[in-house]
Symmetry: C2
């Protein structure tokens, strides 16, 4: 019998991170709509590294120093920056071998909350298989950190956390915390009943109302990249 | 067509309450294992009122003044008090027409977090039908506040929140926030697959290990009482 000692758990809001913090755990930061999906895309399109910053002020300071900067709040790309939060905006040669600074409503806040973790990696449906296969090889506990929406739970990040939990639990290496189990059941329900769960997600509705259905479709696509961006110092790299 | 303007949402940890706080909303405090189940039991057995306090120090102070006091931490009844957190401990004539002070690991912390809400009521499987029928008559938005476990999500409170959401959504009066939808899907999954979900709950396992299976069974029983305790000033009353 394999000794079950690794834990997979889910933190459904960056604000709860201190309650879930444990040493020696890999933290997967999740912001399906759209920050972590966009970050994965940027690495697929050849960005050298990315600097996540929590505040617009920091983004402005980097812009003034001549960096390429993506900045978004409440689903809207901020004026005066190079990119917003749409994965499509990063599908460009402009970013190739460049450093890009990024600040978003929720995703970069989650990175900030977990900054002192043992290891931070970026997860999205667009890199889910690469991510899960890599996690299964690490022999470390895993905390799936959902960015949510302004400290509230959101549906798409929770379902993604359930999808990852599902893949990790197949290995029998892991045991679950309650939040991982809840996310797993939630994910199973969306699979079994074939609910188009993202139509019910408040942020999907918000983005759809902004004409961003194409973004939503892309962010729910599996395995667009094999990259797993991780935080090294203050930069995301692969 | 009925105008959907009432919101039912779920706050999965007392720590997230500020992110969900809205005026004019009924807050249902939930701590299935076992504080809110025990509180409902106490009112069924004729307690006059209950004073929830967050700290053990306050509980001691009330005890010294001669009050009946229930105090529990980490599933264990504290020495020197009259009751712990077991519903069975309140099934006694001793509490009839008396005031009982109560302090628990999570439940009384949730009450404390929401103390300034428009209205706070107590929910448990043991009063679920009375609670839902009453909520449906109020024409107010509803926030289901899960006590969780030390600011982390727990399975039984989340599933209960999903069960209440399910009953409220049948009325077509309510629209859901993402956390309510996630809890609803979670509840539906536990119903459909007939998973004995509470065997998977970390706190169920904790209590079962303490020999408290009888408590668990009772706390998952439906409709043992029609009382809906609510906070009036600093006291729970019916």
């Amino acid at each position: 019998m394999i000794e079950k000692k690794l834990i997979v758990d889910v933190c459904l809001s960056p604000q709860l991170y201190p309650a879930y913090e444990r040493g020696d755990t890999i933290v997967v930061v999740i912001d399906v709509l759209r920050a972590t999906s966009a970050i994965c895309t940027a690495f697929e399109y050849g960005v050298k590294d990315m600097i996540p910053v929590a505040t617009v002020e920091e983004a402005v300071a980097y812009k003034q120093k001549g960096f390429l900067v993506g900045a978004e709040r409440n689903g809207i790309a901020l004026d005066g920056f190079d990119f917003g939060n749409s994965p499509y905006s990063y599908m460009t040669d402009k970013i190739k071998a460049q450093t890009v600074v990024i600040s978003t409503t929720n995703g970069t806040q989650a990175i900030e909350a977990a900054r002192n973790a043992y290891k931070i990696v970026i997860g999205a449906f667009t890199n889910i298989s690469a991510l899960c296969n890599w996690l299964l090889l690490q022999n470390k506990s895993v905390l799936l950190l959902c960015s949510g929406w302004k400290n509230r739970l959101n549906l798409e990040d929770s379902v993604f956390a359930g999808a990852v939990t599902d893949r990790l639990m197949n290995s029998e290496k892991f045991t679950t915390g309650d939040a991982a189990l809840a996310s797993l059941f939630l994910y199973q329900q969306t699979q079994q009943s074939q609910i188009k769960f993202f139509h019910n997600s408040s942020h999907s509705r918000r983005l759809a109302a902004m004409g961003l259905k194409k973004d939503i479709k892309y962010c729910f696509s599996l395995d667009k990249t094999k990259h797993i961006p991780f935080l090294k110092g203050d930069r995301l790299v692969v």
